[in-house]
Symmetry: C2
Subunit: 247 residues, 2 copies
């Protein structure tokens, strides 16, 4: 069973209400005071819930006025990351949209795709899989999964990797770093993504960590340029608010 904190419950409830148009873009949410009453909690707890929505870009808090619901129409939930699903999730093409090309044991090499690897020599699973969008091979993923944390994995688990890792292996995935570049596609990648020699691809290299800061996954993802879109919501870290700035 899932155990959710009050702030989580409140946050998710408001997210749902935004999603299903109970609160609309341009509206203000009920005031924090009112939300305290509605959920029977203290103000700090409500504020922590609202802080989550703020960092997701769902609301903007305006001092003296309230919490304004933003218009994120163009941003399919979730807000940030690779848009790797069609807007309207057709029933066809949904199933079987991932094809696992390879799954085998390998020792971590000295370097992988430019990653600096302190973990060289460890055992891991190596897997390659292809994701289709609009029935076109759109993304080729190549990755290592460290056996220390993933002792066993089957082909069918790869299609729903995070579900498998979190629910079956009960790993707590915590954070990852990503690096996006644009590069000429290697010949083998070209072939798989049905590109012509010399074409460019977007390359995403990422390292993913558990909550105890252990690296468990190394991924290189080659994205067909015409199928690639990365979206991002960014809040400016207000280094300092100012009245009258003296340089």
């Amino acid at each position: 069973m899932a155990t959710l904190s009050k702030q989580e419950i409140i946050a998710q409830d408001i997210v749902q209400k935004i999603k299903f148009k109970q609160y609309n873009p341009g509206d203000y949410l009920p005031s924090e005071h009112r939300l305290c009453e509605l959920y029977g909690t203290s103000r700090e707890t409500v504020r922590k819930a609202l802080a989550q929505l703020t960092s997701l870009g769902l609301i903007q808090k305006i001092r003296g006025k309230g919490s304004l619901v933003l218009d994120m129409q163009d941003f399919t939930f979730p807000i940030s990351g690779i848009v790797d699903f069609k807007k309207r999730d057709q029933s066809l093409g949904h199933k079987g949209s991932i094809e696992v090309l390879n799954l085998e044991s390998r020792i971590i090499p000295d370097d992988f795709s430019g990653h600096p690897l302190e973990e060289a020599g460890n055992s891991a699973y190596w897997t390659e899989y292809l994701r289709y969008k609009d029935d076109v091979p759109a993304v080729l993923n190549q990755e290592f999964l460290f056996k220390t944390f993933v002792p066993e994995i089957k082909t069918e688990d790869v299609s729903n990797l995070y579900k498998y890792l979190e629910e079956k292996l009960e790993l707590v995935i915590s954070y990852s770093t990503r690096e996006i570049t644009v590069e000429k596609a290697p010949a083998d990648v070209c072939k798989i993504l049905e590109l012509t020699e010399g074409d460019y691809v977007a390359v995403i290299r990422s390292m993913s960590y558990l909550d105890n800061t252990s690296l468990f996954q190394l991924t290189t993802s080659y994205q067909r340029p015409d199928k690639f879109k990365f979206i991002d919501f960014d809040r400016r870290k207000n280094a300092a608010r100012s009245k009258k700035n003296a340089e």
Copy 2:
């Protein structure tokens, strides 16, 4: 004068101490209790400061143990965004690394670079500028700045745009949305970035907003593929922690 909250002061102080190796990757920060004493504040305030560092990817909090300083060596500060400066900031090439090609008044067109524009018809400044990296033209920016918020701007202000907007115009820039794609470069962009016809570029389209949610800036940024790198730190939104998951 800048007015910083306690949590900001604490956060920045710890950031500095990490930056200057007073706290090192692999170390634990002083406990929250200890930090309360050190800064003379309550625990919630300390925790808000640590929450900032967590979302920046500087630390990882581990229950029962402490706040571990992460190794973000490969991530030049700031953590997320376009890496648009050389690792070691040489004195040459630093000055004059931006060349303003164009600055003029224009009416917002019906669409711009695929942006859906409700603001069509408004007056704005239109500016194009070129950013050099390693003495090569690396990024071409084309953007609109709405005159409602930017009534006046000079060529020299463009080279330090956000400094001008925040310090001189006292605008409070709050958030922005970004979209990254990979596209064939238009002919004029090719010429400016010294690419050959048909080459690809990374394109970043962004919309930037003030703290009252007003859109004030629309940008399209063409990045030479060999000079483009986007880095990102991502925390997994823990939908639910679980003991034993039932489906």
